[in-house]
Symmetry: D2
Subunit: 351 residues, 4 copies
């Protein structure tokens, strides 16, 4: 049984605890948060409560640390956990600068612990099936892969603070799209071209709220990552185009039921207030790959699975994002590898 | 660990073994079939092979019998299994006449063993979500529920022999639709109206290949079961209509990927020969509820779950089907309960 | 130029005047209505205003009468118009009893004037294409045709008064479905089975608000007409099934744009208050066939087109509806032809 | 009656003659083509036949010239027609270099004749409705507009000869996407970024067969034109995104019927050989705006409509395409206006 200590009690913290209900071989035995740990522990029946994550990381009661905090503290926690001999599962993005990302990778490697980068899209059943169908040759050799991650804006104020978040939507959600495009194609890009702007939330901060990132792969294939905080109604799709055909998967509309509720109709107490056409999913956490992602972490820690979505992968995605900001500022295609010594990715765009 | 003895090695037999890969607490330890048991056992690593199911049913090496045979031998096997103290999982339809169905229910009750009727639709995640959303009041009190089970025709010749099958599509597939409509509404009907005919396969036998069955529920709600062996391209949907709105779930197109392959394109060796627009599913067995159905049987045998989809349910569905044939012949609404002493359901229509 | 005198200034009256903008060879030169004729005439630039339709029908200033009134006065106006030598375009349903319908057909035949029954569905471009594709053999010989006409309830109070309307939804909207199914198959049915009830609006009157009508065609093909005043969100589809495949056309979602507007978003003054996912159509009147229907009437009056959708057709649809009510009451299949001397169709169900 | 002389007898020539069946006030009275004019004239009942377009342009029997030839002769014909006092309708793209385009605009202006650039997308009813809904504020101020024009490759060999065509897919089909994006937003871009390549047809010529063109509009809005000759199955959509929502229109799937034909089914003689799921449209020429485009030309020549889609528009689209090629080669954003003295647009990419 892998004993997990969780840092963070917000959206992702709850999602982890919910998803662990479908995972074998792990339990959350401790949680750390300055103010809300006790309440969270009661909700999810967690034995140990810490107000300071350092205390939890140092304790003997856990084997692994799951980092579900704002981006700017990922690296510090991960390095401390590695030094304490704990496996690490880190939320996306891996860190807010390449130096931090490097320190995480090195610390975990030196300690011989697992550093898993929590990219759920590579565990999404629908997208795994798309990749398999592409590999079986149904569309010929893919030359274009598109992935979108879009919604109407983040739920928590820290996302709008570029000092804590490190950037806007291309960092927050572009990391999903970029990673899953590379995973689908089975390669990393050699250059990137990007355009971005503030369209719907300019008053909230400096972060871009819509971006288009073009990935140039060796041999000429193209990836297009579309990411938005300015798209109420949302989007989450993966599309693969080859000379013989295409594969199109829509994660929001695919495993969904069409529901129409008459405007003004009295709805049951526990339902939302929305009406008209809606598209509720079934088995939503599973469809988004969260239990599978956590199971994989548990298996990797147990040595029974070879790690997918490693710290190195997360580092590489971060490098591409830095290059995307540089491209958006300069209006030029930026070659990879791309060295960055900025404190945060968005500094390439803001300067 | 529940040790299951499987009778039958065709489509359903394979599906059970495949689905048991996602089930905890059970294994197939024996298989019985006159000619193909050894080959099947080798494929699925099953220890014990029997050419006669009677021998297997009598053995000490199994705790339960799964019946995956043509319809006309369900009852004999189930009664023998019950008398040998084995739990029973029986494929749909339960039997080919009400007397047989009664004997199965009574034998299992007398022996104190579980008799589960293998209706997978009530374990389909998409349909479970539809039922939950309906129960939460999103559409008001449902007054109309539709379910369809349609394809271009069955895979095995015995389906066309009404002596072995007991009827045509309304028995083979209508049992799914009728059961899932009643489960969604949470009631059994008080009458039935039906129309059916032979449209695409009249030369193959006496079984009807398309049917529309209207279920009349207490209070006035209506169910419409549409079933076809004459519909290439297929259909599998559940729709719930209330005065405030509707829920529409399409099991074939919902959890599916849109794939276009150019006509004439060279396809990979292991792909099918089809081209143009196609809609491949992901996690197909799970989407159709098979592993969940088997897990439920295992749990019910272990006494940790209250049996859903019981022998009594299967008997009731069979009674409704008899009444549907009667209605199709007479052109009248037929009231339930409906007594039938015909040897097989379709006799109500053929006479 | 065909000079049309219009009786009625409500929904259909406006629709006619709007649609005539795309019709050659006709103009509305007079309008009759007890109270609203002047205002209507001003809106649509109509020269002559009458408070009494009898006066208008008798005038020399018109060549044809378009009847857009409640159902119970169709026959009286049509007969008077025919006797005055005017062509007649009559809204659906043709009349509220077979005797009235017969009188209309006979009066127009005796006068040698055109009696066109205003069934727009046979002029819907999408449905015409479905019929053409079926006739070209793409699905084999059709054995099942479905048509639905459903919405959340009528706009005007007289629809709920069965004395004026003659019935509920099976008369109001079933006439469309029944007619278009027969037109698609190219035959009239030999029997009908129906079920209906009051599900969403029982407090408003005696009219049924949801119905399922099964049409039995010579040779065994089946038509299913689904009609509802209890289905907010609506439905309008035509589906044709044959042994080789199917044709599915959705008139509400087909020629529609997907629009998402964020809940609570400030919308432009002239837009509706709805939000979330919506499906606005383009060229809506054309998609529903109204200008084409009116053009056909003009051409038929000019003798340049052979009349489709005749008074005889409308009479036949009314007969089928009477039989459907009889079937819903008795729970039996009702053979056609069906003689009815009821004052209104719903009397077959209510007695 | 506008008497039109048509140059060209291939796909577009046939489309024009077909679409003129729904146009008032015009007829094709002459056709010119070196070898096929007589046969074409017989098919479409055209009175006058010319093997040399110069002869036709000079004749008194026509009032206007419609240019439906390969791209490299557009300018010569248009200038000659203008000098002969004939109105000009010119297929897209306007010409294959900016100097030619300027000469066309100047010649027509000097002669006082209409020069209409045949961009059908601005006449597509579905897209006009999208623009209207956007203008009514349903999605807020648009910040992103996407348009795609994709198929599996052109029908005629000259498209692959860059000397005749002037470029590949970004010229052939990108002109549609770029123009319709600018029309939807109501502005011209200030810069362009593009990427393109040869993915499916590299052996056929130098033209690119897939491109992504990003248009940067004043104020920051973005347009994305996706164009492909490497996408069997095709795409033709217009999408508008604003901070409050989105509008999505799919011209290929919108006004389409879902048709399933069983693989291997015997199909009627006049149907195509394809099977499986297909999506036939209805009123296809109208849905694509061709009759409306031609009607507009007729009305503009008659002086009763203000010209949309002018020669100046076509020239501007060509300039953007030159800049797109430049951007694809340099990997940089290219500012507009962009001066080009290349003989053909693709020279910016090939050098």
């Amino acid at each position: 049984m892998l004993r997990i200590g969780l840092v963070g009690t917000q959206f992702i913290g709850n999602l982890y605890c919910h998803s662990l209900g479908r995972v074998d071989g792990a339990e959350v035995t401790a949680v750390a948060s300055p103010n809300t740990a006790a309440q969270f522990a009661e909700r999810w029946k967690i034995a140990n409560v810490h107000s300071d994550w350092r205390e939890m990381v140092a304790s003997d009661g856990i084997d692994a640390v799951a980092i579900a905090t704002p981006n700017d503290v990922h690296a510090e926690i991960a390095v401390a956990a590695a030094r304490a001999g704990k496996h690490v599962l880190c939320e996306k993005p891996l860190a807010i600068c390449l130096a931090e990302a490097d320190s995480m990778v090195q610390a975990c490697r030196a300690a011989g612990v697992v550093l898993m980068y929590a990219e759920n899209l590579v565990f999404v059943p629908m997208y795994q099936r798309v990749k398999e169908l592409a590999q079986r040759g149904h569309v010929g050799t893919p030359f274009l892969v598109k992935q979108a991650q879009c919604h109407g804006g983040p739920y928590s104020p820290w996302f709008w603070d570029v000092e804590r978040a490190g950037g806007g939507v291309v960092l927050d959600m572009g990391c999903h799209s970029i990673h899953s495009i590379c995973w689908t194609i089975g390669a990393w890009p050699e250059a990137v071209t990007a355009t971005m702007g503030r369209y719907a939330h300019a008053e909230k901060g400096l972060g871009e709220d819509h971006s288009t990132v073009i990935l140039h792969f060796p041999g000429g294939a193209i990836g297009i990552a579309e990411n938005s905080w300015a798209m109420p109604g949302g989007n989450d799709y993966l599309e693969v185009y080859g000379p013989k055909g295409r594969l199109v998967a829509n994660l929001e509309r695919g495993p969904a039921i069409s529901m129409y509720t008459a405007p003004g109709a009295e709805t049951a107490a526990d339902s939302s207030s929305r009406s008209g056409w809606q598209y509720p999913m079934y088995e939503e956490a599973w469809q988004f790959g969260f239990p599978q992602e956590l199971q994989h972490f548990v298996d990797a820690c147990a040595g029974t699975a070879e790690l997918q979505s490693s710290g190195e992968d997360g580092r590489r995605v971060l490098e591409i994002i830095c290059a995307a900001y540089e491209s958006a500022r300069t209006g030029r295609r930026v070659e990879l590898p791309f060295a960055s010594d900025k404190r945060k990715p968005i500094d390439h765009w803001l300067e």
